[in-house]
């Protein structure tokens, strides 16, 4: 099987497992919607412009649901030592990594596909005119977060307190992508020209490339004892 065939195989296995169990989709969605609702009550959006706080609120929901998705994704592999079944297989382990990144992006993307329109309704915002740029920002920053998150989830998966360790290790490393995500989204919601925030978009793209390349090279070591 080709390298990208293994990537697709791992992602398809995760998606099929989730479609059957529906363990993750429900908890991710409920959590993300609750974040929106709590912030809706916490701030008076008749006074505060949603464009000021909204991007931060959205990315808090996306990032925390991303952490839940990563924890769940590697808990499945940890249970019954399934990760050893993967480690024994004669594959390039970075293909397993990319498969996990792909499934995490798809899980986070599903949450985003529900949450962005929901926030537009809740906070009375129109995102339709800038939908293309909004999707670009979501895709670039979700890939970056999933890339770094999957690497750290793999490193922590064989530790006893992986669910506590993962956010502790991940959040400092994810600060650049979180910052770029919030700034880009903020500019897009405010309807500013692309040139004003192009550097943030380039930064997200560079972060994606650097972390994916580094993780592909390091993943074999990340899974060793």
């Amino acid at each position: 099987m080709t390298y990208f065939g293994i990537v697709a195989l791992v992602a398809a296995k995760d998606l099929r497992t989730e479609l059957r169990s529906r363990e993750q989709a429900l908890s991710l969605m409920v959590f993300a919607v609750l974040v929106l609702v709590v912030f809706n009550f916490a701030f008076d959006f008749t006074i505060i412009d949603f464009k000021t706080l909204g991007p931060g609120i959205l990315w808090v929901a996306f990032i925390f649901s991303g952490v839940l998705a990563l924890n769940h994704s590697f808990r499945i592999e940890r249970e019954q030592d399934r990760i050893e079944g993967i480690l024994l297989a004669p594959i390039d382990r970075s293909a397993f990594y990319l498969g996990k990144v792909l499934s995490t992006v798809l899980f986070m993307g599903t949450v985003e596909a529900v949450l962005v329109p929901l926030s537009a309704i809740l906070f009375n915002q129109s995102i339709t005119p800038r939908l293309g740029l909004m999707i670009l920002a979501l895709v670039l920053n979700t890939i970056g977060f999933a890339a770094v998150g999957t690497l750290f989830a793999a490193i922590t998966t064989q530790t006893r307190r992986s669910e506590v360790l993962l956010p502790l290790l991940l959040f400092p490393a994810a600060v650049p992508i979180a910052l770029a995500a919030v700034r880009t989204t903020s500019h897009i919601l405010a309807g500013r020209p692309f040139a004003r925030y192009a550097n943030w978009v380039y930064m997200s793209a560079a972060y994606d490339l650097i972390f994916i390349a580094a993780a592909v090279l390091l993943f074999d070591y990340a899974l060793q004892e």
Partner: protein, 254 residues
């Protein structure tokens, strides 16, 4: 070109350990193991908890790296050789089946088969399932399976790629007598003489008929290495107790 009178070179042992050491911090789980396992040999590795059995098996499976000494698989050093090629020659059946609960039996086999580069489709999965008596359950999710059925499916998974060496890590754990007998007969049909086998278990009875050699570890060292021929479970139990100093006096009935 080799002359007709030149004897063929003897095949390298499947496993050759020399002074093998594995440290966990300051604790030596393996403390200088010297052990050769020849092609087609079936070694039953016994020992009390913490003796280093599973550690040795994990080193052979290349799931861990040795802290000292050398370990060669078919004459190759896993630290320098193509590990992917070596992994293709090994199958591991553990007490954990590595199966995905929410996938069907066939989907599990197709997933693992493709990881091993096999052209897996529903037909090939069905054939593999038939060999372990699960052809009628191919479309059932694994979480609906009994422990015995899960182990049979795990056996099909472990042997899917026709490995030259099979590692068995407590394969009978959690099985009732009937389940253990079924697994034992399936293993016997697929292993004996055809594949090198290294078994780690506390459960002598179903494992002994599969073994050609007994190795007992204690405190990370080999304390006994002998052929299995002529031994029954009671005899092995007596030897095991004597060698590992585990004989517990039974209180006299009042």
């Amino acid at each position: 070109m080799k002359g007709a009178g030149v004897p063929p070179e003897p095949a390298a042992p499947s496993v050759a350990a020399r002074g093998l050491v594995k440290m966990y911090g300051g604790f030596a789980a393996l403390d200088g193991i010297d052990l050769d396992i020849g092609p087609g040999e079936s070694v039953l590795l016994l020992g009390p908890n913490g003796a280093g059995k599973s550690t040795f098996l994990r080193l052979v499976a290349m799931l861990q790296r040795p802290s000292g000494g050398t370990l060669r698989l078919w004459g190759e050093d896993p630290a320098r050789a193509d590990r992917t090629a070596l992994r293709r020659r090994i199958g591991l059946l553990s007490h954990q089946g590595f199966l995905y609960d929410h996938l069907t039996a066939a989907e599990n086999l197709i997933f693992y088969g493709r990881l091993y580069g096999l052209a897996m489709d529903a037909g090939r999965a069905r054939k593999a399932l038939a060999e372990v008596g699960l052809e009628g359950r191919r479309d059932d999710v694994v979480r609906a399976f009994s422990r015995g059925m899960q182990q049979r499916l795990a056996l099909a998974r472990a042997l899917l790629h026709e490995p030259e060496m099979v590692l068995l890590d407590e394969p009978f754990t959690g099985l009732d007598r009937q389940g253990a007998r079924t697994l034992q007969s399936m293993l016997a049909a697929r292993l004996r003489g055809r594949r090198t086998c290294l078994m780690v278990t506390h459960d002598f009875e179903p494992a002994l008929p599969l073994a050609t050699r007994i190795v007992i570890l204690a405190d990370g060292r080999i304390v006994l290495d002998r052929p299995a021929a002529g031994l029954d479970a009671a005899g092995l139990d007596a030897i095991y107790r004597r060698t590992t100093d585990l004989a517990v006096p039974v209180p006299a009935a009042s």
